[in-house]
Amino acid sequence: MKFFEAVRLALSQIRVQKLKSFFTLLGVVIGVMFLIAVVSIVEGMSRYVEEDFAAKIIGKNTFSFRRRPDVNVGNVSEETWREYSRRPRIYEPDVAVARSALPPGTVSAVENMTFAYANSQYGRPRQVQVIATEPDYFKIKSYNLTSGRLFSPQEAQLGTPVVIIGTEVASHFFKGLDPVGREIRVGGAPYTIIGLLEKQGNVFGFSLDRMVIGPYKSTLSRVTNPRGDIDALVVQAPTRELLDDAMESVREVMRGFRRLPPARPDNFALETSDAALSFFDELKGKLILFGTALPAIGLVVGAMVIMNIMLVAVAERTREIGIRKALGAKRRDILSQFLVESATLSVFGAAIGIGLGIGLAKVVAAVSPLPASVAPWSIALALLVGAGVGILAGMYPASRAARLDPIAALRQE
């Protein structure tokens, strides 16, 4: 109850001296504001990476068997690159062996990918993402069509020149037209459009709607892989456990097929979204560390200002302290009164900072490609930081107040 009285006293202080309180709390407000904004943006990015990037680029419960990791995060040493390029390429026999090891229930599709120029009679040539694959690829990637159809097993088998295109490809090459049934040229060869993918959006500014997907057996593979090799076999399992099983089986048969002695490392890569995610977790830690170091300076300045103001408050209210002591307030009572007061001030500032920080994060999210997501823990943390700053800043003034001699304090005018 003394606690609530001190809180009420501090709040009435703020109400009475609005301008002074504003300047007092500026440091804390700004510090907390940037803290919340930075944490929100980093958190938003990480949500994005986990949900969009990991799911859309790599796929859920999915691994790909390829020559070297596709997503190289962080610094890859030159030595590693040299090792990568010494690895044998993957050809159909490798894929066949790998497939033979897949447990039932898993779905797989080869994936050949490159960027190439496409053109149509309605639009200027433009670079698109070309993917040559098998029908199950759409299932693995959860790609749905808004119109048209997927290619049939027969078309896949025969390598019929049919393609499915993304919304951006459609809007660029067939502005105002229904692209289904029309012709698009990729790498000089004509393909009939049979389906339109629904909008995928983009990941870190990289559009997922500029795709042209055709059968692996078609001439599209000559555009993607002129050497006749295969970029990757993408495998999806219904559960995480089955995915691990499948990966281990593929590793085993491939090592056997390539006659790798036990001491030699794999000369192929089995890539999951984990690598990318773990790298991002590391990056996130660093971003939060550096992103909060700057606001922390604001908080230190804020703490100094609050300490100063509290010292003034103690000096101004020396007589009040004397009265309270004469009426039986112990040192602890006076100490906690001023600590609660400075903590309340600071938490009040933190609350304003939280509001502004959320606003700032929203603005950043609106005007830049950086996503923002306000983490509830960051709000709790900001309030705690606010209280902590207030208590730290109030410590010295409060202990001075508590140590005042009641007689001298009462004598003060």
Binding site: M1, L327, G328, A329, P406
Partner: protein
């Protein structure tokens, strides 16, 4: 006039008159001349050889030079003396705001002269009700809240606090002003709020320091009537003042001079001597 610590001037024949019997010189002498012994519960205040010195930049100021005083429950005592006589120092010691360099101070049967700051704070809260010359009310708080304050530090629950604070304000006829802040009250009303605050914890002693110093003579009379009424109800009142006519309201007057007790008289003897 030689200092006389046990107040032999008191006319013992008059000791049984008045609403509450005053202690006699012999009784006081007996209780003061027993160093180290806890006095009977009937004695609210007993000091033995109380000394207090201040170091004022190298110069030792001996504010109290051995004060023996005994005050029984229900007494109404004024402590008088010119400035520099040590009356403020004595009041601070009696009020447990300060500790003596030497000597014993027994408050309500407890030796308080050696207590720690926090222990003294507890004693102030429970045993002593202060009334100051400058009222010393919290300016931002209402009268009711000001009166509640000692109960806050006593750890009394909010409802109980409010009830007791209202009762205390009723005792000084200020029920209708309890939601006013000090700056909305007259001087006399402020002092009555301070008296209510001093009474709210049912203290052993009401300790008033120049309670009428900031009031006009009419309001002073009004406040003195409040003290008189409390004394009649059995409240022990100790009033520190330098004005003889204010001191004359008390039933017993202790005069300090140069850090020692110069006289300790019944009111009649005092007024006669002062020619009031």
């Amino acid at each position: 006039m030689t200092p006389n610590t046990t107040g032999e001037r008191v006319d013992d024949a008059l000791a049984t008159t008045g609403e509450h019997p005053l202690s006699t010189t012999a009784e006081r002498k007996a209780v003061v001349d027993a160093p180290g012994q806890a006095p009977d519960k009937d004695w609210v205040i007993v000091t033995r050889g109380l000394k207090r010195e201040y170091d004022m930049g190298g110069e030792i100021v001996r504010a109290l030079r051995g004060v023996d005083i005994a005050i029984r429950r229900n007494e109404y005592v004024a402590i008088m003396g010119p400035s520099g006589s040590g009356k403020s120092t004595l009041m601070n010691l009696i009020g447990c705001l300060d500790t003596p360099n030497e000597g014993e101070y027994w408050l309500n049967g407890t030796l308080v002269s050696q207590m720690s700051d926090d222990a003294l704070a507890r004693v102030r809260n429970k045993e002593i009700g202060f009334v100051f010359q400058t009222f010393n009310l919290l300016p931002r708080a209402t009268a009711l809240h000001n009166v509640e304050l000692p109960l806050v530090y006593a750890g009394v629950s909010a409802d109980e606090r409010k009830r007791r604070a209202k009762d205390a304000l009723a005792r000084v006829q200020l029920t209708d002003r309890m939601d006013h802040r000090p700056n909305e009250l007259s001087g006399g009303q402020r002092q009555r709020v301070a008296i209510a605050r001093a009474l709210v914890n049912n203290p052993s002693i009401l300790l008033a320091d120049e309670p009428t110093g900031n009031l006009d003579s009419q309001t002073s009379e009004e406040i003195m009537k409040v003290f008189e009424g409390l004394a009649v109800q059995g409240q022990t009142v100790i009033m520190v003042t330098h004005e003889a006519d204010i001191a004359a309201h008390a039933r017993r007057v202790v005069v300090l001079r140069d850090g020692l007790i110069a006289s300790d008289d019944r009111r009649a003897a005092f007024t006669a001597r002062m020619g009031l």
